[in-house]
């Protein structure tokens, strides 16, 4: 019906909760979790199978779709984001098998997690703006429930409510923007939109439609005046959910914004370039400065996410192919790094039940593996040379030079230096001498460590040997910039 990847994900999302409910209660999380894991692994295999076919020609479902049809186009950028979503999904499910064992309702949890991954893959594949919107809502609704999954905790319900209000208002705004775009072009097919607007001159209503679309999707992407849900949701959600939100969902929102700008609205480049230069500075400024004032590790990581989205927008503001490559590369690399960081703090929360800097002081002596992986993630987020964060920051810096925006590149370096301030506070807390409750903590269980080690391996691998990822991002950006190839 849909592509093989989405079919598998939907099928297993149906099976996982049913099997989980029918199995005995003590084992329901293991049963439904392993069903979801099998589904995600199968989806990953299918994605890898697509790889060779897609490089020749994008796969279209259904074949020969016109401008009015709902259509899925599996192209290289879609695969790029699909790989990020599915791989982080696999690791998060593996991690949740242990982490969520004490919660009730785990069959629903794993079903929703699989549906969320399916929604993200669908957004990556969608070739029609409204199909994209429906898959977007699938991802959003699953993530609303996952953020507030621990309903017995007050702060989690409150964060979920705040998140739903802002995110649903954003989705509705995007829908209004779509209606205007429909009113201007008569179609919502992305390729059709791109060719219709290829020689657009601007005009008030086209700018209004663009602004509404960017505002709508920008709520999830945490563009600065719309970021207020992010620290709360990341903090209050269970750690695996924070991982998938930070590592895949927010990155996906940035990807959608980037895709809209570079694929559909290249004709208006002159105007959105300056806009995104401003937003990038605002994001970096707010994320890094407010991050310095926080005391909760998860909140620090949330503000560092906002700052990193600012770094990604440097590539958007450059507006060139190199900038787009850098943005896509940083979307992927930051996803991996932030996922690793959230999994590490999740392991500490699992053992200690605390997440403020004072409470976790000295945990490094008691949980050496977790702490060293955490330090790796932090070094990557700062942008240390052998890790993958360095590569993408370098590409972003080069792109800003290339586009004649030296000041943005200089700001990138300055704010990276500022951000070291709060990363060093985490480092200090990790290596301080242990005291109190911390001295009774033990190393995290193996099931929590495996996903973290896999992610750390990927972080180092893509840092030392970035060529395959770099060429993947390059071909993605060239596909996005050349609409003609789809015709």
């Amino acid at each position: 019906m849909l592509t093989a990847v989405l079919d598998t994900l939907f099928l297993f999302a149906l099976i996982a909760p049913i099997v989980g409910i029918l199995s005995p209660r003590e084992r329901s999380h293991l049963v439904s979790g392993s069903v979801a894991l099998i589904g995600l692994l199968a989806a990953a295999v299918f994605l890898t199978n697509f790889l060779s076919r897609v490089f020749a020609k994008p796969i279209e479902v259904p074949l020969g779709a016109g401008l009015v049809n709902a259509v899925l186009v599996v192209d290289i950028p879609g695969l790029f984001i699909g790989f990020l979503a599915v791989s982080i999904g696999i690791l998060v499910v593996l991690y949740s098998l242990k982490f969520m064992e004490r919660d009730s309702g785990t069959p629903f949890y794993f079903g929703l997690l699989t549906l969320m991954v399916a929604g993200m893959v669908g957004v990556g594949f969608a070739g029609d703006l409204f199909t994209l919107f429906v898959f977007w809502e699938l991802m959003c609704i699953s993530s609303y429930v996952l953020v507030g999954f621990r309903t017995q905790v007050k702060e989690s319900v409150e964060a979920a409510v705040k998140y739903i209000v802002m995110s649903a208002a954003g989705s509705a705004t995007a829908l209004f923007g779509m209606s205007m775009l429909y009113g201007l072009t008569g179609t919502l097919n992305l390729v059709g939109l791109a060719s219709a607007l290829a020689s657009a001159k601007g005009g008030f209503w086209l700018y209004a439609a663009l602004a509404m679309l960017i505002t709508g999707f920008g709520v999830k992407a945490a563009i600065v005046p719309l970021h207020t849900w992010l620290p709360d949701a990341y903090t209050a959600a269970p750690s695996p959910v924070s991982t998938i939100l930070a590592g895949a969902s927010t990155e996906l929102a940035v990807f959608v914004v980037v895709k809209l700008l570079f694929f559909v609205f290249p004709a208006l480049r002159g105007s959105w370039v300056m806009f995104f230069a401003t937003f990038s500075v605002l994001n970096m400024l707010l994320g890094n400065v407010v991050g310095l004032l926080q005391n909760d590790v998860k909140r620090i990581l949330a503000y560092s996410s906002i700052a990193h989205i600012g770094y990604i927008f440097i590539g958007v503001a450059a507006g060139t192919q190199l900038g787009l490559t850098g943005a896509l590369l940083h979307i992927f690399n930051h996803g991996l790094l932030k996922a690793l960081a959230f999994l590490c703090i999740g392991a500490i929360i699992y053992r200690l039940g605390a997440r403020t800097l004072d409470d976790i002081a000295g945990i490094g002596r008691k949980m050496p593996v977790t702490a060293s992986l955490f330090i790796l993630a932090i070094l990557g987020l700062i942008g240390m040379p052998p890790l993958n964060g360095f590569i993408s920051k370098l590409v972003l810096f080069t792109s800003s030079l290339d586009a004649g925006m030296l000041w943005l590149g200089v700001l990138l370096v300055i704010f990276s230096a500022v951000s070291t301030g709060y990363y060093l506070r985490i480092l200090k807390a990790l290596i301080a001498p242990p005291s109190g409750r911390v001295s009774e903590a033990r190393e995290a269980p193996a099931l929590l460590l495996i996903p973290m080690i896999v992610l750390a391996f990927l972080v180092i691998l893509f840092g030392v040997w970035p060529d395959p990822l770099l060429s993947f991002a390059k071909s993605s950006s060239s596909w996005l910039m050349e609409v003609g190839r789809y015709a």
Partner: protein, 104 residues
């Protein structure tokens, strides 16, 4: 046949009403009504445009879009109201002003 601009104006005013509700009102029920107003404004715009596509003909594309979107908006409402029940259980009120566990 009245001008399309009147529908656009109506949709825009409805959209602004929804935003106004989201900004000033502090009751969860009113917040979800504000969100549904935003969605409905987009629907009105879609359908008005569809019937101005060509005289005497309604574009089925917009009809299909709005049909699906109505269902999706209903889902958001259901999930939000389920959370509203829990918020009431925890705080004894639907007033978001009294929910102050997090600092923003």
């Amino acid at each position: 046949m009245i001008s399309y601009s009147i529908y656009l104006a109506g949709a825009a005013v409805l959209y602004l009403t929804g935003i106004y509700a989201l900004i000033t009102k502090r009751n969860l029920i009113r917040l979800i009504m504000g969100i549904e107003m935003l969605v409905n404004a987009a629907h009105i715009n879609f359908i008005a445009l569809a019937s101005y596509w060509r005289p005497g003909f309604v574009d089925p594309l917009a009809t299909a879009i709005v049909t699906v979107s109505i269902g999706v908006a209903g889902c958001i409402g259901a999930v939000f109201l389920a959370f509203a029940i829990y918020a009431y259980k925890h705080y004894g009120t639907l007033d978001v002003r009294r929910m102050r566990e997090l600092r923003g």
